[in-house]
């Protein structure tokens, strides 16, 4: 236990994301309600987004927007050091990942609405019972 604590303190960000990710995974596996499963999926995605963004962070660096680059002529007056700006690549990847998560969430909600219209329930066990009762319908 004594050598575990410094490890947690050094990498506390990853511990937080892993815990968040596992909360989402548990909700997806164990929850009975389809909407709760979707919420779990969103938590999972958020954990991954935080994980990526934290990888791009550098100490003593600012956001990836080059300073004094407006207007063109001042752009090359000072050399740009990579250590002064955080890594833009994870931000770009996660920007698109957020959009994909919104899109998947929208489609999943639409499917949930259809399921509710047909079976009048979103609980997984009730759905399974109804599917067994009806059999392959129509």
């Amino acid at each position: 236990m004594t050598d575990l604590l410094p490890l947690i303190v050094a990498k506390y960000n990853y511990w937080l994301y892993v815990i968040l990710m596992m909360i989402g995974l548990y909700a997806m596996i164990a929850k009975n309600n389809l909407i709760k499963k979707l919420v779990g999926m969103n938590i999972f995605q958020t954990a991954i987004i935080l994980f990526y963004v934290s990888i791009g962070y550098k100490t003593d660096a600012t956001i990836p927007i080059i300073q004094n680059a407006h207007g063109g002529q001042g752009a090359h007056s000072a050399a740009i050091h990579a250590a002064d700006y955080i890594n833009p690549l994870p931000h770009v990847l996660m920007l698109t990942a957020i959009v994909v998560s919104v899109a998947t969430f929208g489609v999943a909600m639409a499917l949930a609405v259809r399921i509710y219209q047909r079976y009048q329930t979103l609980e997984e066990d009730e759905l399974r019972m109804r599917l067994a009762d009806i059999g392959p319908e129509k």
Partner: protein
Amino acid sequence: MRFLGFIIVCLTGALLLYGTGEFPDWGDPNSPASIHLSDHYIEKAVEETQVPNLVTAVLADYRGFDTMFETAVVFCAGLACFLLLRDFSQKKERFYRHTPTGVILHVKDSKKILKVGKEFEHMDKDWVPSDLIIKTVCRILIPFIQIYAMYVVAHGDFSPGGGFQGGVIFGSSLILLAISYDLKTLVRRVKEKVFGIFAALGVLIYVGIGVICMFMGGNFLDYSRLAPLVPGDPHHIRALGMLGVEIGVGIAVTAAMAIIYINIVSEGRHDEGL
């Protein structure tokens, strides 16, 4: 099942936590993710693209192909919601309210075609008088939200922002209109067809800019080839190309957000919202 799930989650979590021991420290400038490609982006992007916001430069130029299909994904999500949920059948019961007196007409036969004048309005089943404060505040706020959304799109090259963010803000202003008034107000102001056309138009603008670049003799999405078509300083042509692409993204995202919201909230009937 629940217990089994808990064990699986614990095992996966322990495995991942064990793996974090090898990961770079928080804020380490020499982490593997930050030493290969990102240095080139940071040091050369302004020189190569004239865009100070590196996220936009990487998003719309270096990784322009990725972003194009990302926009297509958003379009497909809107399309999927439409195809899954849209229901053109008339509802069985309809309600009309006579605006001056507040008398409510309840039409039970859906087949009967009823032509009503302007003094009647088609209303929701569980209608409550709308709150004056909410309506007024939202009516004042919505134009400013929309102007801010356009600012975010237009300034995506120079400050935090871009097509996705601006499109989402614009779409949320439309959703605010639907929530504060009712869904019919939004659908009456902006027709469903318009949303569909705009979602496709956004993707078309993106692809079109890429195809024009090809016609001008360059690679797909090589914005520097657009220079003869656009007046002004040819050094900024990549920034302008990115702006055009971001506008396309913004339009597509706005329309897709609205389509997803309207279809989910009314179960595809476009009559009653939340």
